[in-house]
Amino acid sequence: MTDPLFEFLCRMGDNTLVLGHRVSEWCGVAPVLEEDIALANTALDLIGQTTLWLNLAGEVEGKSRDADALAFRRDVWEFRNVLLVEQPNGDFGQTMMRQFLFDLWHKGMLTALQDSSHDQIAAIAEKSLKEVTYHLERTTDTVIGLGDGTDESHARMQKALDRLYPFVGEMFVADDVDGAMVAHGIAPDPAHLRPEFDATLDEVLSNATLVKPDSEFAHKGGKSGQRHSEHLGHMLSQMQWLQRAYPDATW
């Protein structure tokens, strides 16, 4: 097994890398100028966080790979992001629902990571938490606003929730990597984050007049890297193209 700390850092960094990329796809085509600008800020925050996590991962790995080498030169099976963040943007409602579900998990995770025994991780978490707290405020308002808005916006948000809810469970499933992180006091057991997540989720969905799907079925395979969705490969083929096509160039 590879170093669990490296794995864990790749999980954190790949989540923000993949989601930041997805959000950046909205630049220039959002429903209204103010949202266009806000989405770009979210994407910029996530790209910044990616640099911190993946540089640290490269450092821990000790094979002189930096954040760019990890982001642009790994293939699908080496990515460790949860399946939720690689789901396509869909309409604006699906993008916002995906962001909200991730933000809610992300905030809980980062809050716990502030107390990490690993100083650099605690520092990254502290910086990221400020940004993510704001992301969550914004997506909470948007999910409630669109859920409660018109018949059409309500229907679209319910559809987005139904589409994405099966990807929620994976964020809370603990495996050996998580076990090693807990043992060293580096990161929390993700399962412990679930009750607070559920409480807030229920409250927001109630305000949004949306109904949580009955089934707790959860797709898995992203954070372990065992089985990503087809979407990730297409994203990487675009994101990594220049680095792959001109491997001897610097940019």
Binding site: I47, D91, F92, G145, D148
Partner: protein, 330 residues
Amino acid sequence: MYAQMIKSTGKGVKSLDEMEPEERAFQERINAGGKIEPKDWMPDGYRKTLIRQIGQHAHSEIVGQLPEGNWITRAPTLERKAILLAKVQDEAGHGLYLYCAAETLGVSRDQLTRDLLSGKMKYSSIFNYPTLTWADMGAVGWLVDGAAIMNQVPLQRTSYGPYARAMVRICKEESFHQRQGFDIMMKMANGTEAQRKMAQDALNRFWYPSLMMFGPSDKDSVHSAQSMAWKIKMNTNDELRQKFVDQTAPQAAYLGLTIPDEHLEWNEERGHYDFSEPDWDEFFDVLQGNGPCSVDRMEARNKAWDEGRWVREGLLAHAEKKRARKMAAE
């Protein structure tokens, strides 16, 4: 420029003696370097011309997001991606500031948007050209933003207060745009053989379209004379184009790239570079909607607007419900 070929309304510039007292006071204030503010009296032609000019400028920022947005998901490093995204985001912000300035003249942003989407209002010709390689991100920053800055810096002194203030804010944020473009060009020009080729190819494709941004010669134009008297146009198109060539030619030499103009040459006597005019037939074709990407750009803007409608309506409906609930509770 971002606002090309804006026809001012009016039949030639009146002398102060020909003006009614109100207009005379208005013109004297402009002549003295004063600002016109939204509540002030202004000639109808001034208002209409400004709406067209500011509106077209705003549209250019918004449509201008697209050719660069085209490369955000393919940027070669995390840092380049962040810089490009921040830059395209700035353009959205600049569009927003400009629409707000236009709104002080009594037109809504939605209406301006609809006029863009219907083709009634135009945007700068330059954004109808494709961005084909990463070097184009360099060329756009270096040449297109470089040309835009030539126009925008003097517009900070324009007579209409809200427009001038928007331009001050825009120029402050714009300062990094041209530099990031030139930085990409330097990296490419000093890079591998393939990167050098890309850089030269980008310059070849963007040189003449950049010169077109200033619009055709307007030294004899009645419309330009009126706009200059109103201080909503600060320089002639030819002045700005010459300034741009004079600034850019040495930069290209620094990069070791060749400007695609065999007549480009320093003229000692004039103290300026001589250069070839762009193909003005092509320019008019582009303005008529026959640019290489004209249809794509309009489709993209229309799609974003149409698909965003439910979001705008949904959030507004929620705000109204919230207000009603609050009132019912009081």
